[in-house]
Symmetry: C2
Subunit: 498 residues, 2 copies
């Protein structure tokens, strides 16, 4: 075969894989948003079968040989060379797994999600524990098939953030703790800010009306995006012009759905803005979970919690909730949504204490995979860590161990990327502020200009480069956690007049 | 292989087919409800590919041979014997088609739907005409591959309603016209009933609140069903406990979304109530389109347009719209929603003139497939027929030829089943009334009892029997159009005091 013929075969294969992937994504979106609960087992079994079909395609020996061949073909262009390398690595990591085990694992993931939904609704960890146990056992076995001298958990960390491992994350979290813990202590002793007005009754119907205007401001429109609701907000996508997000409304919290929306729209923009020539290819995925979270956390925190953002939106919010917020000034509102205090829920935590929520999960995952922590009584372990790190008492499993969807989806090793991505974002924002008057753009309804900067500098490349390369390209520097810590110190010193 | 081994292989094959079918159904539901428009071409191409994978499965020569073998195996039980016969027929009808043409047709269907959405929004038939033309050409070619001495259109009619053809439908419509046309004339000359209050402004948000109570009354709940919105209401399903419907709200019409909901829930109940042992099998499909429409039209007309139904719901509706309906009595409301008059939109037509809408489509389809009518200027042909049969002037294509989704989905030969199903339903209702006090059940919020009767007598069997057999089992009689005509005559004679 000529190189051209080989590439044609390779591209046909990519197309086929992308068709299955699209179907599976849509099935998951459907499952987590609107699909009737009692139909779950019928659907779960069949989606696991289709996962198996995709598995067979991705590990087809003929294709693996083709990839190996193409990897060494000098006529292959740089984009495809990069993609072929990634595909080949993925195939190597996967083809060692027996297909039947892979399919069984996918079925378990789907069932485990159903169990999590039920357990969360009943605030009862014991309903979820057997699934979690099976999930961990399965993941240990599946990852165990890979030839590697790394520990299982390190393999998982590396899958979500290539190059990362426990040693590096330990150092990362130690650096965070070193400056955050004293800062949290100072804030705790400072004069506290009002925030009681955020948790009045805010009818969901009215929140949805405010949301319409927000989505318009974000330019997240039906031509390329759609927002639904789900128990745990998420983003999924199929191509440049098809990005789905979800949010969750809480009647007694006016800010939760707003910030979760801005967060998820950050993920959606990343996918939407990737060069469409990569659509359907492995290069159309974000670089890493950390990079993906850097974009969602950038929008959520650096933009969504800023004074400039709210100087535009707060008058609108007041119009929707005159009774609740009519007497609250913009300044008071801004302070309230940035109040730092130990709390129960990661997704609603402030920027200062957020890394502690992540650290708790990271330590539990480490323990689960190195055998020092068991799934039995894991809710008590969870609660003890919340007491230790954040000083809060967890009243029940719903707002404790069952709050996050990730483990039910088989995602272990993902959590640390939230903290890492948040830190990446600080460096990106610093660079962006050199080029743009970000605050003026936010205040004057020019969100698209900010997104265009992110598109041009980060999003468009998709998975073309590794995270450290991309960081260097965008900021001219290596990753450095101090930009995040400086930002936090400055913000909270000013906010609490420390 | 033993019979047991053969059946195992056959059941594995059914499972695989059902997995693809489920994925494709969910993709279509997603496409027609929430999927971002600009992602359509990416998705369409990939869903057509997956249709092709299902096609390959369904026409796998090894499986076709197995089906043929099992058909003659005396050890196969009656249910499977029936199913195997249906699968074998389906495979025979399909495997003559070249796969590439089949995939191209499926892609065309998806694109044609997108073109229809656009054309309808712009009220411009010319944007849809090229797709319609290609669709008809493709269908002629694909149906042409079948060995058959029937005309192409007769093959299509038979696919939707086994045993039906143009000769039988011609006779059916002639019988309808014979008694309906004089009745329509009498009604036209009678004292007209008020209905102006139905087309005031009814804010959609408030309609949705009314809908919540309606869905509860119908016992259409999130454990097994989900209602969304779409340009053209439809129902889709994957298994017993997963039935999806859509509706469409019109701000200037309080009754449209209600009746379309009741109609689609009729389809949903049919699927939900089919014996779950048939889940995923061909027997889990309704007997025929006519039988399916008999259930939706039964709910829509015989229940949803009845005085008993509204004696329960009208006070609720008045509470939601006191300004618009506070002064309108139940009697006046009942009369208004049953006013018979020539109109533009099939799905909103009254029971008396509805068959004329269907007749127009049937005549156009006949013409399109026998060559006497062309897609060029088909909007003018449409308008002329509406003038001829219903005496109305069609102001634009949106409320004319573009009103229905069916042709964009490649469905030709489906329309007549709406009229046939409506007539089937009259016979079913007559039987049901012998067993149940339907009016009391409707008025007293016991909708479930009615659904249980339909389940027991009709739904549970799925595709186990042919339509004429089922009709005989349920009613003890052959199908007879006069029950429908008697019902209509009685209803309208009373309503208009003829």
């Amino acid at each position: 075969m000529t190189t051209e013929e080989k590439l044609k075969k390779y591209q046909d294969w990519i197309f086929k894989c992308s068709a299955y992937q699209m179907a599976l994504n849509i099935i998951v979106i459907d499952k987590q948003t609107v699909a009737p609960a009692a139909g779950a087992s019928y659907r779960d079994e069949r989606s696991a079968y289709l996962e198996g079909e995709l598995f067979s395609l991705e590990t087809d020996p003929e294709i693996v040989a083709l990839l190996k061949d193409l990897q060494e073909d000098p006529e292959v262009d740089a984009d495809n060379r990069r993609a072929i390398g990634l595909y080949y690595k993925k195939a190597q990591d996967t083809l060692c797994i027996p297909k039947a085990e892979f399919v069984a694992f996918k079925k378990l993931c789907a069932e485990s999600f159903d169990a999590w939904i039920l357990a969360k609704s009943k605030a009862d960890y014991s309903l979820f524990a057997p699934y979690l146990e099976k999930m961990i056992e399965s993941q240990k076995r599946l990852y165990g098939y890979r030839k590697s001298d790394k520990s299982i958990y390190d393999r998982m960390l590396d899958d979500f953030e290539p190059g990362m491992n426990q040693e590096k994350y330990d150092a990362f979290f130690a650096a965070l703790k070193e400056r955050l813990v004293p800062l949290i202590q100072k804030v705790t002793k400072a004069k506290q800010l009002r925030e009681d007005f955020l948790t009045q009754n805010f009818p969901v119907e009215e929140q949805k009306k405010f949301m319409e205007g927000l989505l318009e401001y974000l330019h997240f429109d039906p031509s390329w995006g759609y927002q639904n609701e789900s128990e745990h907000p998420f983003t999924s996508w199929t191509c440049e012009n098809d990005c789905r997000t979800t949010t969750k409304y809480l009647e007694n919290n006016v800010i939760s759905a707003v910030l979760s929306t801005v967060h998820e729209v950050g993920h959606a923009y990343y996918e939407h803005n990737i060069n469409p020539k990569y659509d359907g290819m492995i290069l159309s995925e974000g670089v890493s979970s950390g990079m993906h979270e850097s974009q969602s956390r950038l929008l959520e925190n650096y933009l969504g919690r800023s004074m400039a953002f709210w100087s535009y939106h707060y008058p609108r919010l007041q119009k929707h909730f005159p009774k609740q917020l009519g007497e609250v000034s913009l300044e008071e509102f801004y302070q309230a949504i940035n109040v730092a205090k130990p709390s129960l829920i990661r997704t609603e935590a402030d920027e200062l204490t957020y890394p502690m929520h992540v650290l708790i999960r990271y330590e539990i995952e480490k323990g689960l995979f190195n055998g020092s922590i068991s799934t039995e009584g894991l809710n008590r372990t969870w609660n003890a860590k919340y007491k230790e790190y954040l000083g809060v008492d967890v009243p029940n499993d719903q707002v404790g161990i069952l709050q996050d969807v990730h483990w039910s989806d088989g995602l272990f090793g993902y959590f640390p990327t939230y903290a890492l991505g948040t830190a990446y974002a600080a460096q990106y924002v610093k660079s962006m502020r050199k080029d743009l008057d970000v605050d003026a753009l936010l205040a004057e309804n020019h969100f698209d200009t900010i997104m265009n900067w992110l598109k041009e500098h980060i999003h468009t490349y998709g998975f073309r480069y590794e995270a450290p390369e991309l960081m260097k390209m965008v900021t001219g520097e290596e990753f450095n956690v101090n930009d995040f810590l400086d930002y936090i110190e400055e913000k909270y010193t000013e906010l609490y007049q420390l």
